[in-house]
Each structure stands twice: as C-alpha cells, then as structure tokens.
Symmetry: C2
Subunit: 499 residues, 2 copies
C-alpha cells in the first residue's frame, strides 16, 4: 500500500464519522422527539471526539507527512495533491487550536445560544451582551493561534471560505456597495409591484407536490436522496449517494416552500454531482461555502425567479391553485415573486437588497475583530447601517442585531460567503448564457438538463477541489468580480420597475 493510500484509509474513516454525525444531526431536526436531546448530544459528542482524536493523532501526522513527500512534484491540479492538501488544512486547523480551548469554546457557545434565544424572544440585547463579548474575545484569541496573518479576520474567514483573504472581500464589497445601493434606491423611487396574491391560503400538500415537481425537473436524483420537512430548511449528505434536503411549508406564504425547495435543491445537485473519485475524501466534505451558495442561489433566483422558468411552471401552479391564481397573469405573477422591498430581516430579503444585509454584518464583524467596534454599542451601530443601506430602522433589537443565530454559535466569518455566493452565481450565469444560447428557450419547455450538464462539468464534479477564487479563474478567466451581479440586477429589475 502506498503512503497515499494509507492516508486515504485513515481519512476515509474520518469522513465516515463526519457523515454519521450528519445523520445524527439531520435526524434531530427532522424526526427526533424532544426527549431524545440529551442522548443525541452524547452520541454527537462521542463521534466528534473520536474524529478530532483521529485527525490529530501521531498516526495521521506521520501518514500525512509521508503522503506529502510522495505527491511532492506532482502537478498542482492533480487530484491526489488536492486531497493531501485538504487533509493538511484540517490537520493544521485542529492541531493549532488547543483541545482545551475547543472544548471551552463549545461550552461557551452552547450557553450563549440559549442566552441568544431568550434575548431574541424578549428583544433584550443586554441579556446576550456578556456572552457575545466573551465570544468576540475568544474569536480574537482563536485568530492568534494562526499568527502571523495579514488581517485578524483572515483565520476566521478561512474557516468557512478556504483561502479567502479579508483584503479581497473588502475590495469586492467596496466595488459592489455603491452599485447595489444605487439599484435599490432606483427601485424604491418607482411604483411598487403587487404580490397580494401570495398572501392567501395555499394547501400544504399541493405546495409540497409543486416543489417536488420543480426539483424533479431540475434533476434531483430521488434514488440518491430525499426531501423532508423541518423548521429550518437545510441540505446535508451522508455520502455521495445520499443527499437530503428539507423544506418548510407556510400556509399563507407559498414562496417559502417553493423557493426554499429550489434553493436546497441547488445545494443538493452540487453534492449529487461530485465525482465518485472523491468518495470518502475530504474533497467531498470541505467545499467552498461561497461556491456552494452560488448553486443554491442560482436555482432559487437566476432560474427559479426567471420569466422563462415561469412560462413553463406557472400554468401548472395556476391549475393547482385556481382559487388564488386564476385571475393573476403570468406577467403579474413574475413581477410579484420579484418584488423588491427594503426589509429588516436578512432571510426574508429579496435579490436586490440581500447583499446589503451581508455587507453591514461583514463590516461589523471586521470592526469587532479589529477592536474598532465594541459590543456595548453594537445595536446602535447596527441600526445606523441599516438606515444607511436600506433606508429603514429596526424598531427593536429582535428585528435588528439579534436576528441571526450565527454570532451566538461563534460563526464569525460565515456571513460573507452568502454574498460571495450571489456574486459567483451571476458570474457563472453570464458564461452559461454564452455557452448555451437557447438556455431560456429550454427553460420555457421545462428542460433543465442542459444547465445541469454545464454545472456538472464546470463546478459540481470537483466538489471542494478548488477554492472559490480558483474556480472563478477557471470558469471566467479572472478573480471574483461583483459586476456581473450588478449587471444582472440592473437588467432584471430595470425591466420590472422600468428604469
């Protein structure tokens, strides 16, 4: 057995443990009765403990070094080189941070999450403040384990977006910000579109059936996955051939399940499309979150909120819900599902305003890490930015600084991947529209396999082999660029709002 194969054997077990853990977590969201929580915590804790023990073991360290020697000199694009590099990244991340620190941080965020829940419910920032202060301190400490670095935020960003640098994100967003603010202002000055027909009673089973119909057309492989219901929709996988999504049905807001299913299906198509040669390697697990999000946002927005998509699917939807839609034209419906309105809550934001929610979070996160923003005055800083970017002010902290769970989990560095995903989706889209000239004609006839074939060939098959910047270079010939997204917004909403 080669040294590389030895490493692959070790890593294969670790990937298996990760997938087993994923099932424990999926089941806790989808099936488990509440009484099982304590037991479930023990099971997950044990698997995580064994994973960390195995990754950071002497045996792994030795196998890793030997495999690195074995692949040294191979082409940088070689799959084995990338597999070994991916293991190195995990190994370093877990050995640089002391085990005690990890355990303490896990306890801290576990308590903080409960405090955040209470604080959000009562809209009482003071209740969450001491926990957040401690988390910020700890996160700065965490960055210190990876010194030297260019920026204190780099190690945090890198945890969620491999290889990404703070300076790059700052530059991308600096270019995006004025453009996107301008688009939103332009839209705000025009007459608003009507989407009252979406606020009616839509039968839950029919919503489910429609979602299944759509994602089946998208190419979701039901032989290698399934869809369930959960409070917070998500995608997970327990291997290359078992990819699961969840959706949430809201009786009086069919957009939730409809676009939610498309969004998660985008994630799932990616996971189902990874090449079998990466089975049981970290390349299938450690995927750029921005690239992942580019797939979900693409299916939800660039496909799912396009006119050509609805030319095919609207008659189907209309016949499912004649009581609500018989008198709503395709044009009215298309405009309704694309209504833009500055709003307070990120997860409810439309395509035109979404990135602004991310930018303000990113700016606050960086300032907190740099020490130029304190936790004490965070709510005021938040509200000021919402006013600046969206022209509205949160009436309370529950709808402001307390709305997201991420910080209570210690997830600093996560938010920007959402916006980067949007930008990437538009970059891919410009290329796709060039490569498949009759793309929209295909959509109008319910055909999405041309798109899927393109995504498989250019993105999905690689899993986490490439960073987001590498993939950008491969597909578009340049680094991540916000302008395609800006052009997309201007073209689409210019047509809808008439500017």
């Amino acid at each position: 057995m080669s040294k590389l194969d030895e490493l692959k054997t070790i890593v294969g077990e670790i990937v298996d443990l990760g997938h087993s853990r994923a099932l424990l977590e999926w089941d806790a969201q989808v099936n488990m009765a509440r009484g099982g929580a304590e037991d479930r915590g023990n099971l997950i804790g044990t698997l995580v403990g064994i994973m960390v023990e195995k990754i950071t073991s002497e045996k792994t360290a030795r196998a890793l070094e030997e495999a690195e020697a074995e692949v040294a000199g191979l082409d940088d694009d070689n799959d084995d080189v990338r597999i070994v590099r991916s293991v190195r990244r995990e190994f370093d991340r877990l050995t640089k941070v002391p085990g005690d620190w990890m355990a303490n941080f896990a306890r801290l965020t576990s308590v903080a999450q409960n405090a955040w829940e209470v604080a959000k419910e009562k809209s009482d920032f003071a209740h969450f403040k001491p926990h957040l202060s401690e988390i910020v301190n700890k996160r700065r400490e965490y960055a210190g384990f990876f010194a030297p670095f260019d920026h204190v935020y780099d190690p945090l960003l890198d945890e969620f977006e491999p290889g990404m640098k703070t300076v790059d994100v700052k530059n991308i967003f600096a270019k995006l910000r004025p453009e996107q603010v301008a688009v939103v202002k332009e839209i705000a000055s025009r007459p608003q579109v009507d989407n009252a027909f979406l606020l009616k009673d839509y039968d839950g089973q029919k919503q489910w059936d429609f979602g299944v119909d759509v994602i089946t057309h998208f190419g979701f492989d039901w032989n290698r996955g399934r869809q369930d219901k959960s409070v917070h929709p998500f995608t997970t996988s327990f291997g290359l051939d078992d990819v699961r999504i969840t959706t949430k049905i809201e009786k009086n807001w069919p957009a939730a399940a409809m676009f939610g299913s498309m969004h998660e299906c985008g994630h799932a198509l990616f996971e189902q499309g990874i090449s079998p040669k990466f089975r049981r390697t970290p390349v299938m697990a450690n995927i750029s979150m921005a690239v992942h999000e580019s797939q979900s946002r693409m299916m939800e927005n660039l496909v799912g909120r396009s006119l050509s998509f609805w030319k095919f699917f609207y008659p189907k939807l209309q016949s499912l819900f004649p009581e609500n839609l018989a008198n709503v034209s395709l044009e009215q419906f298309y405009r309704g599902v694309n209504k833009v309105e500055p709003s307070l809550i990120r997860i409810e934001a439309d395509e035109a305003t979404y990135n602004l929610h991310i930018m303000l979070r990113l700016e606050l996160e960086i300032a907190l890490m740099e020490g130029s923003q304190d936790v004490e005055t965070l709510p005021e800083a938040w509200n000021a930015k919402v006013q600046e970017y969206l022209g509205i002010t949160p009436p309370n902290d529950a709808e402001g600084v307390l709305q997201d769970v991420h910080w209570s989990n210690g997830y600093f560095g996560y938010f920007p991947t959402y916006a980067l995903g949007n930008l990437l989706s538009a970059m891919w889209w410009e290329k796709i529209e060039r490569d498949i000239p009759d793309l929209h004609n295909q959509f109008e006839h319910g055909k999405f396999d041309g798109l899927l074939t393109w995504l498989r060939a250019n993105i999905h098959q690689y899993g986490g082999k490439y960073t987001s910047q590498e993939l950008s270079q491969r597909i578009t010939g340049g680094p991540i660029d916000p302008m395609p997204y800006v052009r997309y917004l201007k073209t689409k909403f210019g047509a809808i709002y008439g500017f």
Copy 2:
C-alpha cells in the same frame, strides 16, 4: 476518578457508537433511498470497526481488570458488579474470536444472504446449500473458540441469550412439546372459527390511527420515541430516551399493523422503562432476547388478543370501519383474531402453533451443530418435522426450509429466544393476574397503567441486569417453566374451541 468510572467512560463511548450505528440502520430501513446502500455500508463498517477496536484495546483490558478488582467483594446484585460483568462478557466474546475470522464471516454471510434471497425467490435450495454448509462449518469453528463447553451449541445460544445452556433449553422444550402438540390436535378436531371479516379492504390511514391509539393507551412515550413504517417491523433505540418502532400496513389484512404495533410497543415499553442509572452502560444494550420477546408477545397476545382488551377497543375499531365490522359482534371478532390454524410460515403463525415452528428449528440447529444432520438432506428433515408437529407438508422449500433469513445471517442460536419469550410471558402473566386482581377490569376500561407499573417495577427498570433465568427466579421463585404457557393455551383456546 475511580477505576470503575474510567471503565464507564470507555464503555460509554462504545455504547454511543452502538446507538449511532443503530440510527444508521434504522434510517436505512425507514428513510434511505436505495442508491445510498454503498455509502451506508461504509459508515456502518467504520463504526463497527472502531467499536471492536475500542472494546478489545489494551486500554479497555486494563480498565476492565482494575474495575473488576475494585468491585470484587461487592454483592452479586450490585449494579456496578453487573455493569463490569457485562463488559467482561463483551470483551471475552470479541477477544476470543480472531478479528480475521470475524471479517471473513461477515463477508461470508453477506454473500450468503444474497444467495438466500435468490434461492428463496426461486424456491431452489441447491442455490443456497453450499453457503449454508460453509456457515454451519464456520459456526462450529466459532464454538471452538469458546472451548471447553458442555455442548457445541452453548456458545451460539449464549450469544443471543446470555447464560442459557443447551441442556436447559432441551429440557424445557421436551416438557412443552407433547403438551403443545396435544392442544393443537385438540383444536384441529373442532369446528374452525371464521375470520373472513379481516380479509377485507381496511383504509391504511385509519389502521395507522387505530394502532397509535392503542399504543398510546399502552403507555408508549411519544416524547421519547416515534413510530414509522418499514417493510420489516422492528424496534430500536438510540439511547434511553429515543426508542423507535416501525409497523407495516397491509390493506387487506389489518391484523398485521394492529398486532405488529402492539408487539413492537411491547419491546419499546421495555426500552423506555430502563432505569436512567444504566444510561450509556452495556446493561441497557445487552438484554436477554427472551425477556425482551416476553414483553412484545405479552402486549401482542396476552393483552392484545384478550377479550377484556377488545371490550374496550372493539367499539372504536367498529366505528372506524363500519363497512367491514358493523355486523360482526365482539364475540365473533375476538374469536376471529384468535383463529388457530396449522400453517407453513412461522411469522404468520398463531399463538397455539408458533412454538412448534421454533422447536423444529431448534432441533435442526442442534443436529447441524452436533453433526448428526447434514445440510444435504435438510429440506427433507424440515418437511418431516413440519408434518410431525403441524400435520401439513410444505409444497416447496420457499415455504419450508428457506423461509427465514436467520441462517443466511449466521444466526444460529437465535430462534429459541422467540419461544422462550412466549413461555416467560405466560409465567409473568400468572404472577400479574395474582398481583393485580382487577387487571381485566382495568383493560375493559382502557386502563393499562397498572400493568405498565408492574412491568416497570419487575422487569423494565433492570434492562439487561439479569439473565432470563435470574429474572424467572426473582419473579416466580423458580426456573423457566413451560407449564404456565400450556395452561394459558388450554384455558384460552378451550373456551374458544369448546374443549
């Protein structure tokens, strides 16, 4: 930390791994799309490998020895003594059998199971024969690892029924056989009862609802478990507070889901009733299968096929299915669900004939292990015994020697636990009826908490602390005795069939 606590920490992780594996298997039966099979096999293989590695490690060996020294001299009934003993049993079982042998046997049975499926489908014993021969040889080899023993079948029996000896099982069955054959002959000589009303169209959702109603009355804790559908009904648990059952709905045979749910609920009540002090110890995992089966058979038969049970539930069932039951009296219904008829298939057998199916399997298993029966002539030997005990002859091997999956899995020693469970259920029942004089009156009013309280106090709380013989001694003052079951059959079926 005491040595005992050290052992408990080690063992706690192993129990957690076992419960994680149980979830992987539950999910494979209940949820997983077929495409996920290969990935799932990898995940289970990895967890099992880690479990075996952990149980048989030097670290466990040392902790076990030290803990044994620490509890030496404590009362034999002490919980810690029993926990340590339970670990010793697993440790010995897994260290006495070489790892290579285990891996080979796993491969052998994996192939054999596929061969059995094909053989059963084609009713072609020859196709399965070479695999079964090899399994029998391997099982004899397995017994050899535990030499010296009183009987070659002892180590196999012990794997499924801790502490049970072949000589005891033989004696019990020798006493039972003539009595049970006599009861069946007596019934066969009487006019048959009618159950044609069960062979009609019963709505699936209503069947499900009725089953849920029944097991809720039995005391199934929905906050600590759930019920799903699967092809083969079973019970599993992922901890003390997450116990799951499955059921199977057959449109034209409501008895399947009805009594199936009660059966699995009996298993689940046991698991949900184990004392929290045994959380994450092998005492909650390694339970006598006979005692476990005594609980499922009790809820299915002694409760679920009793007249007092149906006095309460039959009006409910009648109002759910008036189209089938409006003209069927309680008395007719009760007799119908207790129809006795010699049949070929074990899993479809009634209370009076079930044990006879087990006896013939036990006799053949022992003969195969002793070498007095060869695999070559097994079908003829099978058919002769079916004729002897049940008065009928299988028309083909699919309905004869090929009907059960157990042998292809290598499960020799498993079958007798089913029959022992029946015997134990009747032993407990005589005691329960003495301890709760108005038991049947409680059932007639839909009250089952008196029964559950008794079961919790006398059986459930202990989990696997006691062997079946120990529990028999504690509850009835004597060893396992078939006569209570014989008395039960005579009384019940004497009334129904008039003898």
